[in-house]
């Protein structure tokens, strides 16, 4: 893979991205791209943190001119690791590490120990070599194992521990070299990128801005609960009901702690919608530092699509999203079955890439066939929204988990109402809720419960049959997008946030 890099220390905002722009396509990536291109007077730097070199295939976005600094690191790449080396390690250091661990293990959320905030701790006191290879480190790991989970498969414990901790040192090494770069740090997630920002912040006092699209800590929790390779060796008698496997618990606690570190370091903790802000507070963000800045779209360009719409409402419900289980495509197909019973000409289009989970895709196609929906359900693959939006009567998302879906706002701007499941920002988007005025605009569609094909189909039928209802939803959708979710508004908000941070850094 061709790797780009640009080097310049004199930048305004240093962005810290984990597994995203510019090597991966997606919501967060387009958000970063919009942010950089939308604020051309600000000089940006970007640090990309990836897993391993082979997990990425080339740039997915052209790098903007005002991205002056760009570097790529792979947290799990062997080249980031020191050479194997036999070392003993000193006792003092491990007493220290033991102390820190017991703080993190504590039930109540205690303050982050100062050692953890200090770069010298990772780069001089307990180095990566010490962590990976020292005898003391081994003793500590096996002691912790014997104390907390002596019956777990040791190999799983060891690898989980080693793999989640190792990037900390890689990140500390990166931080050490970035102390002079930029005036303000901005990380679009907690996790390792958030940790990187926090370490630079603690070391230099530069303001750290944290924007979360999803809730990283919660997403990792879902990952780990779904991970099938973690074997629970406890028998039925050894396990209390509802008790989690220790390795899962360890993993979750680790990411929660990283989240807390980032929240404690950040001057601004930004989320995309109100519910997300509540979750951030629950995970340890100080309520005073949080705020909501919704995503914005190119309203004018998308609004022009309204003119391209046919006269009658097309009898097509479009689901714009990847075909993966979290989007719960199967519920959509079932809802379409009920809809077609009433409106035989109704169409359900599933618009999005199918490569990520081929097994799930195959299951969905089989389900559509089994329900005799061959003529009514279309898997279109990836399509340009400009082409597809004018052909839709409504967009829908049946997801079981969602942040703030940009595709819904885009549909709004193009005059397409939405039927959404009640997750993430759905209610805020459809019913309004940023302020009283927003609510007064009215409903831009329907919100129904998750996994409820019956309720979904009722909403679809109403949308496709009741033209007056549809018209009022369209008006609200366009109005809401124009007022609250334009790119201008979004860029303006970040422009202000950066200005405030620059001022703080100067002072």
């Amino acid at each position: 893979m061709k790797e780009e890099s640009r080097s310049c220390a004199d930048i305004d905002v240093l962005l810290l991205g984990e597994g995203t722009y510019p090597y991966v396509r997606g919501g967060v990536s387009s958000w970063i791209h919009d942010l950089i291109t939308g604020l051309p007077r600000i000089n940006f730097g970007l640090v990309f943190l990836g897993a391993r070199r082979q997990d990425y295939t080339g740039l997915k976005y052209p790098l903007p001119d005002n991205l002056r600094h760009f570097e790529t690191h792979y947290l799990f790449d062997p080249s980031e690791r020191p050479r194997k080396n036999l070392i003993e390690g000193t006792k003092k250091v491990y007493t220290l590490v033991a102390g820190i661990h017991s703080t993190f293990r504590g039930r109540e959320k205690m303050a982050i120990p100062d050692k953890v905030k200090n770069l010298d701790f990772y780069n001089k006191e307990v180095t990566f070599k010490h962590y990976l290879f020292s005898r003391r480190s081994w003793d500590f790991i096996s002691e912790q194992y014997s104390r907390h989970c002596p019956k777990m498969p040791f190999l799983d414990y060891f690898w989980t521990l080693r793999n989640i901790h190792s990037p900390i040192w890689v990140v500390a090494g990166i931080a050490q070299k970035l102390l002079k770069h930029g005036r303000v740090l901005h990380s679009p997630s907690t996790g390792y990128a958030g940790l990187l920002g926090s370490l630079i912040h603690f070391q230099t006092g530069k303001p750290l801005i944290l924007t979360e699209h999803g809730i990283y800590t919660r997403e990792r929790k879902i990952d780990i609960l779904k991970a099938e390779w973690i074997v629970d060796t406890r028998t039925f008698l050894e396990k209390n009901a509802g008790e989690m496997n220790y390795i899962r618990e360890l993993w979750i606690r680790f990411f929660e702690t990283m989240g807390r570190i980032a929240y404690s370091a950040a001057d601004e903790v930004i989320s995309l919608f109100e519910q997300a802000r509540d979750i951030q507070v629950a995970y340890g963000a100080a309520p005073g530092s949080t705020r909501v800045v919704p995503n914005g779209i190119d309203f004018v360009r998308l609004n022009a699509l309204v003119a391209a719409r046919p006269e009658r409402v097309p009898k097509v419900i479009g689901l714009i999203g990847r075909v993966v289980s979290i989007k719960d495509i199967k519920t959509f197909i079932k809802a379409m079955r009920v809809t077609v019973n009433r409106l035989p000409e109704a169409q359900g289009w599933i618009i999005g890439p199918q490569e990520e989970d081929p097994e799930y895709t195959a299951e969905c196609k089989m389900l559509a066939e089994a329900l005799n929906l061959e003529d009514n359900i279309k898997f279109t693959g990836f399509r340009k929204i400009e082409e597809v939006l004018p052909q839709l009567g409504a967009v829908t998302l049946t997801s079981v988990s969602e942040g703030m879906p940009l595709s819904v706002i885009e549909a709004f701007a193009a005059g397409v109402p939405a039927v959404l499941t009640d997750v993430g920002a759905a209610r805020q988007l459809v019913e309004g809720g940023l302020d009283a005025e927003d609510t007064a605009i009215g409903k831009a569609g329907e919100v129904v419960g998750i996994s409820d094909p019956q309720a979904l189909s009722l909403a679809y039928i109403r949308m496709l049959e009741d033209e007056r209802h549809w018209k009022s939803c369209q008006t609200a959708a366009i109005e809401r997008a124009r007022k609250y979710y334009t790119r201008e508004k979004f860029l303006h908000a970040y422009g202000e946030i950066y200005e405030k941070a620059f001022a703080k850094w100067r002072a």
Binding site: G26, F133, S146, F154, N163, E219, A227, W229
Partner: protein, 456 residues
Amino acid sequence: MAGIGFELSKILKGSRLSSLLRAYGYSMVIASGPWLISIVSVLLTGYIAKPFIKDSAQITQFQVSITYLIAFSLIFTGHLQLYYTRYIADRIYETDYSRILPNTLGVILFVMGLFAVLLYPVFIYSFRNVSAMFALFFILTLGIMGSIWILNTLLTGIKNYKYVTFSFLFAYLVTIVCTYYLAKYGLKGLMAAYFTGQTLLFFMLLAAIIRAFPSTRLVEFDFLRMNRLYPIIMATGIIYNLAIWVDKFIFWYHPETGDNVIGPLRNSIIYDLPIFLSYLAIAPGMSVMFLRLETDFVDAYDGYFTAVNSGENLRRIYNRNSELALAARLLLTEVLRLQTIVTIVLLMLSEKIFDFFQFPKIYLPLFYIDLIGTQMQLLFISILSILFYLNRQMETLALTSLLLILNIALSYLSIQLGPFFHGYGFTLSFFIVSVSGILFLNRVMRRINYETFMFS
């Protein structure tokens, strides 16, 4: 979704011990086997030839020639023997059997080429005043013997021990028959007879290998691919073989202890016989070592790594570790115990043995110390076997290098100190490396969990 969580779970899923060790612990047995066989054959050929040859100088010339053939063919294939054993073990682990035959032929061609370039000119030049026929048989036998040592690395894989034993016996029988008919031609005849026997042995072993590992390709040089080379193993192989011969060379070429025999080849009348004789004494210990290694130790070794990789808890892994250490200790103590009994019996009977074979009694003191020395060498081979099994490449390299240095320094010193000290250099060298080896092994066993996990 930002974050590398997805990739992380993929990485964790793939995390198993990558350095899953492949059994190639027989390396040492394989490396020691030919050397024991050949020592026997040197002594044996002398006896076989004796009735047919009147000139005893010719018998000495013949024995010395064979000794050199063994020494040079072993030293110059030492790197390939250990390395090729590893190569074969890896292919067997991958069940890529079809690579075995073509690469074995490739290695043999490689050996022949190596000898042709490095050794043939040297020996042809050395024997320019002896006889062309002798020189010809010498270099031909050298090539054949080098090839036999390579085939030897595959013999444990064949598992047809009966056939292998038969091959060796039959080849030596043919050698005796040929010696009977060719003895009248003197040294040339003896060489021709030996060459015939060795060539027959080579083809018999090759036939067994062709049968055991069929392949569609004839010759391949896959073993030379860079990523499949193990420089440390190769270095260890060559250093080990140099180290076990170097005391002999020092005694042969030191003016006080060596004599000219034929061309540039020399021997040492006072040093050679006792030491070769005492090598015969370690045969019982060798077989016990082989047996223990193949049974208890392999089981304990498999048990340990299975426990590690199948997700046992740490307490059970530690238990397996103790069992492994116990198996290693058992191997060493059993070898030592048995060999001590053999040594004591031989020490008591040595005068009677010397009387029986009509060896000069003057060799007795040297024979005593050599018996202890070869016993130490056996202990050292056992320790190396275990270290090879555990893939401790650096330790084996360090130990063999130490042995080489000690054996050079102390052997030379023993000559300087006078006849009474002959043999002490060799014995002391093996004693020191054996003790060091035990210390290494102790450390390895104590740290095996730490290193298995932290360095994987």
